[in-house]
Chain length 216, copies 2
Amino acid sequence: MSETVTAQEGVLRELRVMIASGQLEPGQQVVQDALAASLGVSRVPLREALKVLEGEGQVIYHPHRGYFVANLSVDDLVEVYRIRSILEDEALRVGVPLLTDEDIEYLEDILSDVEAAATSGDVSAVTAANRRFHFALFEASNMPRLVRMIRNQWDATDAYRGVYFAAPANLKAMNAEHRNMIVALRNRDVAESIALQAAHRENSVAVVSQVISKAE
Amino acid sequence: MSETVTAQEGVLRELRVMIASGQLEPGQQVVQDALAASLGVSRVPLREALKVLEGEGQVIYHPHRGYFVANLSVDDLVEVYRIRSILEDEALRVGVPLLTDEDIEYLEDILSDVEAAATSGDVSAVTAANRRFHFALFEASNMPRLVRMIRNQWDATDAYRGVYFAAPANLKAMNAEHRNMIVALRNRDVAESIALQAAHRENSVAVVSQVISKAE
DNA sequence: CACATACTGATTGTATCCAATCTCAAGGAT
DNA sequence: ATCCTTGAGATTGGATACAATCAGTATGTG
């Protein structure tokens, strides 16, 4: 059961999915009346959800003209990933030394989920579990604001990342990286875990930048 | 002339001032009906402005209970400043080598404003000019998203920083720091400028943490 | 033909109204 | 006395209605 306390909360989730899945295409105007109707709500909660997405950089707002799905340039992409780097580095620098053995076990459990999803070829399950893995790790930093900022950076490129996990070769590489990461975490090796996280990020940026430059 | 295109834009500015000035106290509930009336608008644009502030961490939202002005704990404060550090370091690391001579002249002009305001004892003018100085410097990075994130961190502690510039000794110290910063920038000395910025931050965190721990 | 102007439909911005939910106090049961 | 229930008042959540603004087209003018 999805525990939606307010309509706008549910709208927000649906909008995120629509953007990440490309159902709302980058650059496209968000016509509030139509979208609200299709979501079965009025424009009021929709507009509040859009304000949240604006703050995250997922949509751009022009007064009296409306909201438009963000359309990242290559320069934007470079900036997003550079910011992601420094935020993630910090999360690991702080968090890795704080990891308990139970934390690492938990991370391994999630990793099993990732691999199971990969084996069964369920791309969206892989995406979700992969995300759970990394954010569980980031959360070890006990820095909720930092984690939220990292999440925003991930979200910012969601619309362009859809294809990554589709290729079996990528999946295999990712699994290997994750296993190496677990080893580094067991050793509480901050430098190594940062390096591995960076490598992981590089794969992502490569895919996304291809998608973006093709579109430009 | 304040060029306000939409009501919510003006409301947002006013709310920021009210929070930074303590007119809306940390922890206090934001009663929408009363506040909207006092601002001369309906609740709709007010609520959208509050959503923006929520995204910045300036207010906390509880569904069906409303918005409350953020009340930072010492832990929160530590996190905010740690995040500020890594973001500002990055902005300088990227920006300082890109500074043109004209940029530096411009920064010196702003510095004159700061000092003039300090001499005349206009605290709010000092605050504003000081902010202009630092953000003009950050913007040299050409990383608008990064600059926005830094701005959010500054805003997060505005409600607690009010007293800092009141003490003449602090003003003097700040001016000296700024002048040292200009020297470092002329030399395009990244490490030194980062160190000076860190020192500047330390002064701020000291004041704010005093205010917060007194309140706790 | 180029350019400015006025109009029209579409879309956003805001006010108002009512429903849903929460808080808190009073009363009753154990 | 403690805990649970119930209700009233206050406050938020959302739908609707209307005003303000914009984009694009048609019309007029040089």
